[in-house]
Amino acid sequence: MPVTRLSPASVRLLLILALLLVSLFSLNYGALELGPQAWLDPLGDQGRVLYQLRLPRLLLSLFAGALLATTGAAAQALFRNPLADPSLIGVSAGASLAVVTLMVLFGGWLLEHRLDALLLPLAAFVGGLASTLLVVRLSRTLSGISVTTLLLTGMAINAIAIAGIGGLKYLSDSQTLRQASFWLLGNLSADGWMPVLVLMAVALPVLLLLAREGRELNLLLLGVSQAQLLGVDVQSLQRRLVLLCALGVGAVVAFGGLISFVGLIVPHLMRLLCGPDNRHLLLHCALLGALFMALADLLSRVLVSPAELPVGILTALIGGPFFLSILVYRLRTGGVDA
């Protein structure tokens, strides 16, 4: 069975065209359909919707999608398993626990002082980083990070965080409960440009640094020892990957809540389309992830318009069945294609 795949350059071109198309569409459609005059009149009613709500929201989706997909591909190389996900290193769980803690224990105080928009993302980011560092510290062995231990420690930390969130929800009143549940479902609504600028400040360096690791990630897939014999400083590579994944996912969770499965299905689709070579894969994942997220966000706004569906529900609804079908397909074919 020969491997027939599209060339990297043509895939890139197609993705960029599709991205532009979906972005234009997404800016114009929604609860309110915008005319061309909205673009020319930033201070009018339609212009304000475009420039203060839709454009920042679109950019937020694009960068969130790019980060989730690229860190997903990087985590799969780190764990040398095509079904791995950045949440395995505990970053999402830690972020969620921090946010829910803040909401339940200090929610009223935050609202009163209007600090929720600032402190909740900060808590998510710090919580995500802290739990990742804990996971890494616990799985450090004499010969560096053991990937198996990393996986198991991550699972244990995830379980503890979920128990903590459950306990906090149990303690909270119904309004806070609703707010916390809503946040946990993932939402990319943006009010103004601050979240976008902060996310971009994290996303650009993380994406660029990850994209440069393609060669070493390929070699890592041959096994830790073999990669070392091919000149890769595996310990340092593992540290860089964990840190970049934690930064990237932490920033997304901070502004978008929990958005699942993007890091799994986008790299998978990309590998099916043009192969597992990480020298192209990471960049392609950034593009397809952005496209996927922009589409999901558009759907979340138009499906039940004028209300909104939390985008995390959509990605999980698409991603869950997709993941299962890959899993079943891999089991049936002995993992030949993924």
């Binding site: 069975m1 491997v3 060669r215 000149g231 294609d337």
Partner: protein, 258 residues
């Protein structure tokens, strides 16, 4: 080219090797024989620098191996390990090409190397195939080709831990003939662990016998391969016959009574 002086490892109970001296010179194919668990893979791990020795010195081209950076080491020393985990659908060509990453070869040179090795190892028709769809022997040949792409541009060291595992007879001969040609023509020092006594006798220039965590004997193949010595090492009676053209043929006669 690769020189070990009093090299030993005794830190872990499962991987031990008593102090030994070893000299691998360019242009030579050096076979390693010994029963399971004797310490052959520990020997490869020590010589490749993967396992740090508890005592002794290891010099690659006259310089302590410990002083090489990982990148430098990869340019002068190519190693094939026994287990080759790869769970991603790379094409065979892509997998082989990974061996060239540390060398930074120009693309035409790399392509030339891949094509030559693919021809010699009968992989030509598989180059565009999905690695995960290969049979065990085909995957093993692919990995061997990858390691051989990594051989240095000038004479360098190649260590192979059971490169012939899962290969059929014809491909075993092909692989060994290729290794011998590479050693002779390009001057590499190649050490390989193998299990077939007759292949060892036919192709290696020198032989190492490893048993019970010790380097028991080393020297020219003809001198080392004595039936009594081999019988003792493998704990089965081994006899040598001569073919009409004078080649030694080894056979074990244990279990004949069943």
């Amino acid at each position: 080219m690769l020189e070990a002086l009093g090299l030993a490892h005794d830190r872990t109970a499962s991987r031990r090797l008593q102090p030994f001296d070893l000299h691998l010179s360019g242009g030579e194919l050096c076979g390693v024989l010994g029963p399971n668990g004797a310490g052959k893979s520990t020997l490869v791990a020590l010589l490749s620098g993967m396992l740090s020795p508890s005592s002794g010195e290891l010099m690659l081209k006259g310089r302590a191996l410990a002083h090489f950076t990982l990148k430098e080491r990869a340019r002068h020393l190519a190693v094939m390990l026994q287990r080759q985990p790869l769970d991603f659908a790379f094409s065979v060509r892509d997998v082989i090409a990974m061996g060239g990453y540390p060398l930074d070869l120009p693309l035409p040179v790399l392509e030339q190397r891949i094509d030559n090795l693919a021809t010699a190892l009968d992989l030509q028709h598989l180059l565009e195939r999905n690695y995960l769809s290969l049979s065990g022997g085909e995957a093993q040949r692919t990995q061997l080709a990858r390691v051989l792409v990594q051989r240095g541009c000038e004479p360098s060291v190649v260590l192979l831990d059971e490169p012939l595992a899962a290969l059929d007879l014809r491909h075993q001969h092909q692989a060994l003939a290729l290794l011998r040609t590479l050693a002779r023509q390009e001057g590499h020092a190649i050490l390989l662990v193998l299990h077939d006594l007759n292949l060892a006798a036919r192709y290696s220039d020198t032989l190492l016998l490893v048993g019970d965590g010790k380097l028991l004997e080393q020297g020219a193949t003809e001198k080392v391969m004595r039936p009594e010595r081999l019988s003792e090492l493998f704990s089965v009676p081994i006899e040598r016959y001569r073919t009409r053209d004078g080649l030694g043929l080894f056979t074990s006669i244990a279990g004949g009574e069943c």
